[in-house]
Subunit: 238 residues, 2 copies
């Protein structure tokens, strides 16, 4: 089988995609809302809070999670919790906005090859590896997006669609360069997005079948590429 345009090892060594780095950025960006002065303490406790929110939300949904649940899971009292946010809703938006920023940044940082065939492979790998290294935060975003205030609801669609548009743009470049032959590039980009989302929405399935993220990356690339090259054309890679 062909080599991947980007390996998981390479991706991880280049990106510090830990939840801790997200929480560090979260604390920095919300200094006005967080009443804890010592930065290290704020980051460490925020990490416990975010971990607990994601875990509890997976079980009963963000709305179903009470702050008593959160207090118990983090070993922080109710009073202590309110030094890290002013309301349950604010906590959600802090996490959501920080994750959104991080995801879009990293997706844009990869997929830099000039050849659209390679760039498509890089983008597929980057998306899969990112969701692999932050397994639960991706499905948290997908499942809980409905909890956003109406003002922020528009941003969800933007976030959902922005990565899809990114893939669409690569496909368009490939068509322009006559590397790809695609009937409907919009439907194609949507289908690709659906395959990438499946990786984090059905995590239990893949892990129980012992499918690695690189195996799945190869599968998705092959599955999509079978639709990119006309059989009459000579640009199908050998």
């Amino acid at each position: 089988m062909n080599e991947l345009a980007l390996t998981y090892r390479d991706f991880i060594s280049r990106e510090a995609t830990s939840l801790e780095s997200i929480c560090r950025a979260l604390v920095m960006h919300n200094r006005d809302k967080i009443q804890i002065k010592k930065e290290d303490r704020a980051i460490q406790n925020m990490l416990r809070i975010v971990r607990a929110v994601i875990s509890l939300s997976q079980k009963k949904g963000f709305q179903g999670m009470s702050l008593r649940d959160l207090s118990q899971e983090t070993d922080l009292s109710m009073g202590a919790l309110y030094n890290y946010f002013n309301s349950k809703e604010e906590l959600f938006e802090m996490i959501y906005n920080e994750g959104k920023t991080m995801i879009l940044q990293i997706l844009e940082a990869h997929a830099t090859a000039s050849d659209p065939r390679i760039r498509l492979q890089q983008a597929i790998c980057a998306h899969l590896y990112l969701s692999e290294s932050l397994p639960r935060i991706f499905s948290f975003f997908f499942m809980e997006a409905k909890n956003l205030s109406p003002k922020n609801q528009k941003n969800v669609i933007t976030m959902e669609q922005s990565s899809e548009r990114y893939f669409e743009q690569i496909l368009l470049d490939g068509i322009k360069q006559q590397s790809f032959y695609i009937e409907d590039h919009t439907l194609m980009a949507g289908a690709l997005k659906a395959l990438l989302q499946d990786w984090y929405l059905k995590r239990y399935k893949f892990s129980s079948r012992k499918v690695s993220v690189e195996q799945y990356a190869k599968f998705v690339i092959g599955f999509v590429e079978a639709n990119l090259y006309s059989s009459q054309s000579d640009s199908q890679p050998g």
Copy 2:
């Protein structure tokens, strides 16, 4: 473009997949739990309840929906509601189990052709058309499956995977008959399921782009079939 193995019109005329028919079955199956004697009244009010549950759950999740919300949305008082179920949890399980039964029944009733190539197309169409005719109940099941009691959690996986296994079986039949040439039929069935789920999970996207369910069915069939036939083989349909 090729004709579809099953049109939406044919599917609709053969199946009474309305929410009302689900509620009728729901009332019949839960006669012991529902204290309303007149069947017609029970069905009509249960329909209002189920509609409201799906709608409110979409906005704030089932756990986030209060029975006061439900009371307001249905124009039934709190006391009246409790004549249709004994607890919020029981209400959820009644809806979930009834929907599950109906979905599996209909999926099994279609896709009857002996040629696996045709049967695959029929199954894809049936799944898409069913989720098209009951748009919100499918995403309700997907998003709220986590609310099931641990005892019923196992059934979710069964339901999720049973349709996937159904597609996998069709692929296996095709391989056995040397109609299909597939490297990993399990991954392939999972990918197909992901494409079908996208139809009801991203409904707003398709409707704003004015993509019809038959257009999408053709796209999915083409997308998958590009991966089923080896280019060396002579069994690729003309």
